[in-house]
Subunit: 230 residues, 2 copies
Amino acid sequence: MQDVSEKKASGSGLRERKKRATRAALTEAAVRLAAEHGAEHVTVEAISEAAGVSPRTFFNYFDSRDDAFVMVDAESGARVRRGVLEAPADLSPLEALREAMAAELAEIEQRHEVWDLHARVLSASPRLLARSLAAHLADELGLAEALAQRLGGPAATAAGSAPSTTEKERRRALDLYPRLLAAVGGTAVRVAVEHWCARQDRIAFTDVFRQVFEHLAAGLPAPSGESRRP
Amino acid sequence: MQDVSEKKASGSGLRERKKRATRAALTEAAVRLAAEHGAEHVTVEAISEAAGVSPRTFFNYFDSRDDAFVMVDAESGARVRRGVLEAPADLSPLEALREAMAAELAEIEQRHEVWDLHARVLSASPRLLARSLAAHLADELGLAEALAQRLGGPAATAAGSAPSTTEKERRRALDLYPRLLAAVGGTAVRVAVEHWCARQDRIAFTDVFRQVFEHLAAGLPAPSGESRRP
DNA sequence: AGGCAAAAATGCACGCTCTGTAAAAATTTA
DNA sequence: TAAATTTTTACAGAGCGTGCATTTTTGCCT
C-alpha cells in the first residue's frame, strides 16, 4: 500500500510546492496588509494582488476572507495531540496536557516575528479574535480523543474487564472527562495569553502559564492567604 | 438625580415596547425559518418579510445577519453576574459560580420551546456555534469583574491593609484568578451542554452539570477507579 | 387638540464577499 | 510531443452590509 513512486511523497512534486507557496504568499500578504491598514480595510482583491494571483483563486484556498488572517498554523493541533500521547506515563492527564501545550507554545515563540504581527492583528479586531477561537475549537475534539486514548489504553489493560460500577456510567465518565479536560486546557491557554498581553510590565509568560495550571490542579480555590473552607 | 417622570422607567414607553417587539419578531422569525430551511438558506429579506419590516430595518437592530440567530437572550450575562454577587457568602467562588449558572440554566429551561429550536439551529451550523461562543465571550469580562468584586470586597475588609506577601503579587493573583474562573465556568457549561446534546439517551442535564463542576473542584484528576497518584 | 422635535423606518445606491460555470494555462504522464 | 489532469482565470450573479436622504411614527409641549 506504500507509494511505489517517490515523486508522490509530500512536497516533492512541483505542483504541491507551488500550491504551498501560493498559500503562504496569501497568508503573509493578508497578515502584513492587515497589520498596516487594519484588517477590515484589506479587501480580497488587495490580498490577491499582493500575492500575485486572481481574486477568484483566493477562494480556492480559503473558504472566507477572514480565514486568511486566522489560518496561520494548521498543524499546531496535531503537535499538541502527539505531545499528549508521547508524554511520560507517570504524569497525570492535566500534567500531560500542560507539558504538551507548553512545548507547543515554546515552539511558536521561536518565530515570533510572524506571530507577533498575527497577534497584533487579532487583538485589534474582536471579530477575528472570535474566529481564531473557533478555529482552535475545531481542534478540541481531536485533542479530547488523544486524551481519551491516553486514559483508556492503560486503564483497559490494567483493570481488565471487571468494572465495579455500571458499565454505562464508566463510559459516560470516560466520555465526558476528556472533552472537559481538552476544553478547559484550551481555555487556560487563552486566559494565560490574554492576561500576559494585557499586562504592560514584562512578566515571564511561563510564570503565568504555570500559575494558571496550578489553579486548575488545586480545584480553583479562593486564592486568599488563609483558607477558611477547604 | 432620580427620575421625576415615571414614564421614563424601563419598558413603559410605547417606543421602547415597540422596539423590543420588533426585535423579538426578528429573532423569532430568524430562528423559526432557520430551523425549517437551514440557517444558510435564510436571507435577510426573508427574515424581514416574516417580521413585517423592511430589510434595511433589520440592520438597524443587528450588526450582521448571523446575530439574529445568536443574540436570542442579551440579558443572560447580567443575570449570572447578579447571581454571583447575591450568592450565599459561605460558598466558595467556584460554588457560587456554579449556583449562579445553574439558576440561569433553569431559567432558560422554562421556555425550552424557543431554546430547543435555537439549539438545533446552532448545532446544525458550526459557524453559528462559533459565533455564539464569541457572544458568550463578551460577557466573560463582566463576569470576571463580578467574581473579583465578590472576592475583593470581603477580603479587603477582613484583612485590612497588612498584606503578608508583595502587594504586586497579590494584585496579579487577584487579577488572574477571576478571569480564569469566569472563562473556565463558561467552558464548563459549554462542555456540559454539548455532552448532553450528543447523548441520545435521556440523562438529566443536572447530573452532567454537577459532574462537570465536581471534576473542576477536584482539580481534574484521572477519573479511573483507583488513584495511583493523588 | 395641534404642532414641533426627536427617533425610527424606509428606499435607493454602492462596494464587497462568496459561488457557480466554463474556458485557458500549467503540470504530469504516456 | 501529445494527451490527461489539475490549477488558474474571467465572467456573471446572488446576497451582505453601509451611508444618505426621505418619510413616518412617537413623545412632549402649549
